[in-house]
């Protein structure tokens, strides 16, 4: 099985290679010629795959080893296959008539007859070719893959569930190409071998003769047809010269024959009684093996200026030789003293072919070496030319020796002094080579056809003409050149009859040829222009590309590279040891080195608390411990000040909410108790109405229930704090509390009893006992009064009226509400007694009190005067205690501000609760800290407000610092960079654009892939990455490492290091993305699922490398 799998892979690789080749050809040359070698080799590779484990039974009577039979089978049930099958049949039929025509001459030349018939056989892989040209092959293969069970063994490539479809899909590309039969410029503009040039020149200069003379055998083919239909006579002249030209062209490189060797003025003595004639000797490789052809000069050069020499010509035609090397067993070589070489070929039957005399120079040798090369790999000369042993002769030296001897002999002959030494060597120069073919002929030909050998890049000059396309030749034209030669003797007998036609034909041919050449020339000019313009556009694109790099990307990195290794290896990072070295007397001055170490190696975890403030710009490098201490003190004071501000507002909001909730609850209870009033009526009267009333309430005090529930856990501490402050400063407050509290807890208690399991199913809040709740409610009221009082003296009357107008304006059915509230209040009152724990507020432990001592004096002073008013207020509040007159009105705070804060607080609470609940650090207490920081920041940035994700950014800072004010300050620093990533900022689009450019420059393949899958335009899979600096993508320890690297990178290599981390993440998984052909959605899903599973070390390393790559790219501009 393993070997089968290997075999399958091997086959598949071969196909891949060929497909790649052909696609490259299509891209670089913009068209592929139908006879291109790539197609042949592709067909060979496909054929091999198709033959792999093909069921013999499936093909029935058809012979094994041909996929044509397979096609015929498939065509019975699959239409495209049937079509291809028909086309192939069309192509094959004419050739068979040609065959029959050529057979008439069989008796004349026994040797040639067999070869001629085979030479006419269709080119290999005909149906595959046709299928490719008709763009059907991929479909047929796909069909085969889908129905593999009918034709293939289980272990075959086609039946393989993975390889099969791959195989079929590989062919889609080639099937999408357009193939041309046009001659390409290559045929005319590349340098053909000198010999060939000579031949070509000869053909061009004396085309008329060349065309006419070999035209005669052609006529024989036509003659046969003419018998069938006399009307064809009119077309004959045209056909003559075409076939004539074909003969000559057949002597050259073409699609079926590869010219291996060509030499003019080779003497052959065709008959014993004739003297040797000079002629053109050529060695061809065809699908059927090697062919040696010799054509007398008289035929090549044209000997019939006047058409009188017919006898001569026919004689010459008789002399022309075509020898199939397969028939030859021995090659006798004779070195002549005058340095000429003679080759006599001896056939299997022992009959000698006419001797071939090579002129002076190493021609014999080069002929032999070409011959030997041509025989390989399946045949060889025995002894081989270069072999060291064999026949007792040192044949290994034959080649050089021959050459040497040749030169020496030539010199000796030039001096006309035949020496004895030359005579000695002359004897040694007689060899007999045996031709060994080690493979069956079929195999041999298959290998021989290997187009790589046939179409070496240096000889692309074979004269393709549209007529020479294998099948078209057969369909439209008289027999192929090889047939012509085979029927020459027959032709001779007929030649006289047609001599007149020949003259006419030659003139016509000449004319046609000229126009043809003109046409070609034009074509070439156009092509040249196209090539030049293409080159120009390529250059232009390159320039644009570089410009993109320079203008868009050069801003992403700093242009000076940073050494990783000096002064010390950066990979070790900022260790404790290193830090103590850098931190002299508590002053760190060498910022560069700190950044460098952090950038390459990160910070030791225990140092982070100290180092991060530097990295974030909170502490300045070079600052003394005292300065830092002072700064922290100032920050803490500031933080507490801000906190007291928003805590005040929060208290107001909470109070307001309570009232709303009370109202809601009343309404709801009313709805539920006297069922006839509410829902039905409201629903039927239109739901909108319900909404109006509801909205009006909530517009002024949104997030009622939620607020209450979600802050349940967090509020106690903050409120308690206020109460502490107050109780410390003045005992009157306590008294005030005492007087104030009774009505409030009632309400509170009511609320909490009614909505104990509110929102979110949050178990945290519920964990706290009822005592806490009641306690909080008490402190709440304290907070309210405490903060309210300083404000109210100034603005109480206006304020109250304002509030009332607001309420009346907003609540449409305030009357109803009032009624409802009356009910509620009754309920509330009835429950009053249940909630009484007055004394507890002052005795409650205050977790935050220590840190807030600094605040207390000021707070005390500020609040003191207000306390006097307090009595009135609380009294009046009691009287006002109805939902329509919210006692917790925001004082100087506008309704809009309160709404905005309330909304933000609600959101913060929601997200704080959900923030990293699974991380051990975030217990209730620390979540409170997180909330405080978040609220403080949002209070300072109310214009932006809280946006989801901010919590995620605070969390790691808090984990490291475990200090509210420090974490807050650092968070502010962090947000300087991050805040523009949030929806209001618009930096995200810039990130996406940069990302796009970077991928385009650094990973063109991936970019191409993304381009094809359209939706990538927005790179949304990176959204969370950039918004949170990868916080959600990585586990906490990795987040720390990544963040500090980003911060250090800002001072080292790039202020956009996140981009490179993102790019690195993409790079790490690029193969997966490409192999699975992922589109936009797949990638989002993939990366979401990969969150917290990345190898961060590797990612960071790649990111740094990418930075370096871009740096060099920009440097090298």
């Amino acid at each position: 099985m393993a070997s089968e799998a290997e075999e399958r892979q091997r086959l598949l690789r071969a196909v891949k290679k060929e497909v790649k080749q052909i696609m490259e050809e299509a891209v670089t040359r913009k068209f592929v010629h139908e006879e291109s070698s790539s197609i042949t080799s592709l067909c060979a590779a496909v054929e091999a795959c198709l033959l792999h484990c093909l069921r013999k039974r499936a093909l029935g009577l058809f012979k094994y080893g041909s996929t044509m039979a397979l096609l015929q089978k498939v065509s019975k049930s699959f239409e495209p296959a049937a079509e291809v099958s028909r086309l192939v049949a069309d192509l094959e039929t004419p050739s068979s008539t040609e065959l029959s025509g050529s057979r008439k001459s069989l008796d004349n030349n026994k040797n040639q007859s067999k070869k001629n018939s085979t030479s006419v056989t269709t080119p290999k892989y005909l149906w595959l070719r046709v299928a490719i040209f008709e763009k059907k092959l991929a479909k047929i293969l796909d069909y085969l893959v889908q129905n593999h069970s009918k034709y293939y063994e289980e272990e075959s490539l086609i039946a393989d569930p993975v390889d099969g479809p791959i195989f079929a899909s590989l062919l889609v590309g080639p099937c999408a190409l357009d193939y041309t039969k046009m001659k390409t410029s290559d045929h005319f503009w590349t340098d053909p071998p000198a010999d060939e040039l000579v031949q070509r020149h000869r053909i061009h200069s004396s085309s008329s003769h060349v065309f006419t003379s070999p035209g005669s055998p052609k006529r024989q083919g036509m003659q046969v047809r003419r018998d069938a239909s006399s009307t064809e006579e009119a077309r004959e002249p045209k056909l003559f010269h075409m076939s004539a030209r074909e003969y000559v062209e057949s002597l050259h490189q073409n699609s079926k024959l590869q010219l291996l060797y060509g030499k003019n003025n080779v003497l052959v003595q065709p008959k014993e009684d004739k003297e040797a004639l000079p002629g053109y000797l050529s060695l061809h490789q065809s699908s059927d093996g090697l062919i040696i052809m010799w054509t007398p000069n008289q035929l090549m050069n044209g000997c019939c200026e006047d058409a009188t020499d017919e006898t001569d010509r026919s004689q010459y035609w008789e002399f022309a030789m075509t020898i199939y090397l397969e028939d030859i067993v021995y090659i006798h070589c004779h070195q002549q003293p005058d340095c000429r070489g003679t080759v006599v070929l001896v056939g299997q039957d022992g009959v000698q072919r006419p001797p071939i005399h090579f002129p002076k120079g190493g021609h014999l040798l080069s002929f032999l070496s070409c011959l030997e090369n041509g025989l390989q790999p399946n045949g060889q000369l025995d002894p081989p030319l270069w072999s060291q042993k064999g026949k007792g002769k040192n044949t290994g030296k034959v080649f050089p020796k021959l050459r040497r001897k040749g030169s020496r002999l030539s010199s000796s002959s030039s001096t006309s002094s035949g020496s004895t030494t030359s005579m000695d060597e002359e004897e040694a120069a007689d060899y007999v080579f045996r031709i060994i073919s080690s493979f069956r002929p079929e195999m041999l030909t298959a290998e021989m056809l290997d187009p790589k050998a046939l179409w070496s890049p240096r000889s692309p000059s074979s004269p393709h003409s549209s007529e020479r396309s294998p099948w078209h030749v057969r369909r439209q034209l008289p027999p192929s050149p090889l047939v012509c030669t085979s029927v020459q003797s027959y032709a001779r007998s007929q030649e006289e009859q047609n001599s007149e036609c020949l003259v006419q034909a030659s003139a016509d041919a000449n004319h046609r040829y000229l126009t043809y050449m003109n046409h070609i020339k034009q074509l070439c000019d156009t092509m040249t222009k196209q090539i030049i313009s293409r080159a120009f556009y390529g250059w232009l694109a390159h320039c644009r590309h570089l410009k993109t790099v320079r203008t868009h990307l050069s801003g992403l990195v700093y242009h000076t590279a940073v050494s990783e290794d000096s002064p010390v290896d950066g990979k070790i990072g900022l260790t404790t040891e290193m830090w103590s070295k850098l931190c002299q007397n508590g002053i760190v001055t060498d910022s560069k080195e700190v950044y460098r170490l952090v950038y390459f190696g990160g910070v030791a975890h225990e140092l982070r608390k100290q180092v991060w403030p530097y990295l974030l710009g909170h502490h300045k490098f070079g600052s003394s411990p005292e300065e830092r201490e002072g700064l922290e003190q100032a920050v803490r004071t500031e933080y507490e000040k801000i906190m007291s501000e928003w805590l005040a507002v929060e208290a107001i909001i909470r109070q307001r909410d309570k009232e709303v909730i009370a109202a809601n609850l009343a309404k709801l209870s009313q709805e539920s108790t006297d069922g006839h009033i509410p829902l039905v009526r409201k629903d039927s009267s239109l739901s909108n109405e319900v909404f109006v009333s509801f909205e009006s309430e909530e517009m002024s005090r949104p997030e009622t229930v939620v607020e209450e529930s979600s802050t349940a856990r967090t509020t106690p501490s903050s409120d308690r704090k206020t109460s502490m402050e107050l109780s410390i400063t003045s005992s009157t407050i306590d008294r005030a509390v005492g007087t104030d509290t009774p009505p409030m807890p009632i309400k509170k208690g009511h609320l909490y009893q009614d909505s104990p399991d509110d929102g979110l199913g949050d178990s945290l809040a519920r964990g706290s006992s009822t005592t806490t709740e009641t306690d909080r409610s008490k402190t709440d009221s304290v907070g309210d009064s405490g903060f309210l009082t300083p404000l109210t003296p100034r603005s109480l009357p206006a304020d109250v009226t304002d509030r009332i107008t607001m309420v009346t304006k907003l609540s449409v059915d305030s009357a109803v509400l009032d009624e409802e509230n009356a009910n509620t209040q009754q309920e509330v009152k009835s429950r009053t007694n249940s909630a009484h724990e007055d004394g507890e507020s002052s005795s409650k432990p205050d977790s935050l009190s220590t840190s807030r001592t600094s605040l207390d004096p000021r707070a005390g002073q500020d609040y003191e005067p207000g306390l006097e008013v307090k009595g009135h207020l609380s009294a009046s509040r009691e009287s006002l205690l109805s939902p329509a007159s919210p006692a917790s009105n925001g004082g100087i705070y506008s309704a809009e501000l309160l709404d905005s804060v309330a909304l933000n607080l609600h959101r913060i609470d929601k997200d704080v609760q959900r923030c990293d609940r699974n991380y051990h650090y975030f217990n209730c207490e620390n979540l409170d800290k997180l909330r405080n920081i978040m609220c403080t920041y949002v209070w300072q940035h109310l214009d932006v407000g809280y946006v989801q994700g901010m919590c995620d950014l605070v969390a790691p800072l808090l984990v490291i610092f475990d200090d509210e004010s420090l974490a807050y300050s650092c968070f502010c620093q962090l947000m300087k960079r991050m805040s523009s990533n949030f929806p209001h900022g618009g930096a995200m689009d810039t990130h996406f654009a940069n990302m796009r450019s970077l991928i385009q420059i650094l990973d063109a393949e991936l970019f191409e892939h993304m381009h094809q899958h359209g939706d990538y335009t927005h790179f949304y899979f990176c959204y969370r990455w950039f918004l949170l600096d990868f916080k959600r993508e990585l586990i906490y320890d990795d987040v720390f490492a990544v963040w500090e690297t980003i911060w250090a990178a800002k001072h080292m290599t790039s202020s956009h290091f996140v981009l490179f981390i993102a790019l690195a993440l993409v790079q790490v998984y690029r193969e997966i993305i490409l192999d699975n052909n992922m589109d936009f959605t797949d990638i989002i899903k993939f990366f979401n699922e990969m969150a917290e599973h990345h190898n961060t070390k590797q990612v960071l390393k790649i990111a740094r490398e990418l930075v370096a790559r871009l740096q060099t790219l920009i440097d090298n501009k």
Binding site: L760, G761, K910, D911, Y1020, E1089
Partner: protein, 205 residues
């Protein structure tokens, strides 16, 4: 198994933050509930294969960020949606109130062919909680006024009604698409691990 063409239905879940969109999605797809979900940033989706009227349908359920600030991202995700699930929290009236804007925003951004009959489903989530603040009748009334949107009261935590609600959106989306040639060459998602939505039972507190 119906051997007809495999259909992909893209369903978007919308609603205020914290109403339980992620929980609903995971309960439906993975049959798991966790109280550890974080606020969704950006967007995520899960796929589930379901049979709708003996047709195999792949539901691609998109979970989105709840804060309306992130709606600008929506365009990319809403495009090509076949159905939309609007979620509110029955204990929080304001989440119910914002259904209007979610629906409108969706119709603007997704711009479906037939906005009037676009397959919506409304889910009132968290019915396992006791402090209910939005009555079923009110929710139903709203749904009725918006063209008889099916309304379901669910609990993602207790897995109440979740299956039915999503089945309904799939069915309606299919009905909507039935006259249109449905064809999708969306490749199967690459499943890297199954335990993504593994519930973590312990609270961090």
């Amino acid at each position: 198994m119906a051997s007809r063409k495999k259909v992909l239905l893209k369903v978007i879940i919308l609603g205020d933050s914290g109403v339980g969109k992620t929980s609903l999605m995971n309960q439906y797809v993975a049959k798991k509930f966790s109280n550890q979900y974080k606020a969704t940033i950006g967007a995520d989706f899960l796929t589930k294969e379901v049979m709708v009227d003996d047709r195999l349908v792949t539901m691609q359920i998109w979970d989105t960020a709840g804060q309306e600030r992130f709606q600008s991202l929506g365009v990319a995700f809403y495009r090509g949606a076949d159905g939309c699930v609007l979620v509110f929290d029955v204990t929080m009236p304001n989440t119910f109130r914002s259904l209007d804007s979610w629906r409108d925003e969706f119709l603007i951004q997704a711009s479906p062919r037939d906005p009037e009959n676009f397959p919506f489903v409304v889910i009132g989530n968290k019915i396992d909680l006791e402090n209910r603040a939005v009555s079923a009748r009110r929710a139903q009334g709203w749904c009725h006024s918006k063209g008889d949107i099916p309304y379901f009261e669910t609990s993602a935590k207790e897995a109440i009604n979740v299956e039915q609600a999503f089945q309904a959106v799939a069915k309606n989306a299919m009905a909507q698409e039935s006259d249109v040639e449905l064809c999708s060459d969306f490749p199967d998602p690459i499943k890297l691990k199954d335990d993504q939505a593994k519930p973590r039972e312990n609270c961090a507190c």
